[in-house]
Chain length 126, copies 2
Amino acid sequence: MGVVRKTQSVSLVLDAFNAENKAISVIDLVERFSDKINKTTVYRVLDRLEDDGVLHSFLGVNGIKWYAPCKGCSEHKHTDVHPHFQCTDCGKIDCLNVDITIPNLPNREVAGAQVLIQGKCEACCN
Amino acid sequence: MGVVRKTQSVSLVLDAFNAENKAISVIDLVERFSDKINKTTVYRVLDRLEDDGVLHSFLGVNGIKWYAPCKGCSEHKHTDVHPHFQCTDCGKIDCLNVDITIPNLPNREVAGAQVLIQGKCEACCN
DNA sequence: TATATTAATGCAACTAAGTTGCAAATATAC
DNA sequence: GTATATTTGCAACTTAGTTGCATTAATATA
């Protein structure tokens, strides 16, 4: 899994994430590259980059998929379990560099967690 | 908003939630009542019950919508911000009666949070 | 550098969750 | 019992995401 060739599509997608160090929704990416990359290809490129630990994905409100650059993730160890913050005004999502504490759950085996905090972002607070 | 008449559809849906004190996915409900309630109606009944603070909704993995009974929610005050636990084996979701601590975020206005913990549930741990 | 090999792409058609408009049915209030 | 407003069913639609397959483009090898 995850044999990533440096194709044009891959470069374009990576450039987008490097330009703004933020989460980008798949919908946004598909729209943004609509004249350069096929929709299907966008989905597959993101898939591969996630497999390789370059990006990580999560769901925003309305179940829309978002991707953001990984920091300290490797192909087999996605330890990057941080919360995301989605602004209820502008809809943008940031990764938060905060550790969240998952409560101790007896008789259960916790594998991971997805935390989406909602509210007003820094820009929209003014 | 939220004028709920005690119709047959509403009763059927509420009975389902009373029978098993668990979260149920919309897909499950639509399927379960496919010969009794129209798909559109199921969606609308759930919508209304959420508006009235009887149920609350959240997203499971794959962005599928789930509903669960509210405890202590009212029409205007949805304080029921508890984490949900989805089993990676059987797919079922439980509401956890645990409070989660949202980290302090300077310059941001936190309105709420969605926490989905994933792992093996009690039944699947054996 | 040319060629073989394998991964990646585009396209079109599809699936599935959820929504909308509207006419008909059914609760509730009077 | 009748009027009024809510709720329902239906069919058609929207949108995110997927699949199969033939073509194209990277990489490895000679």
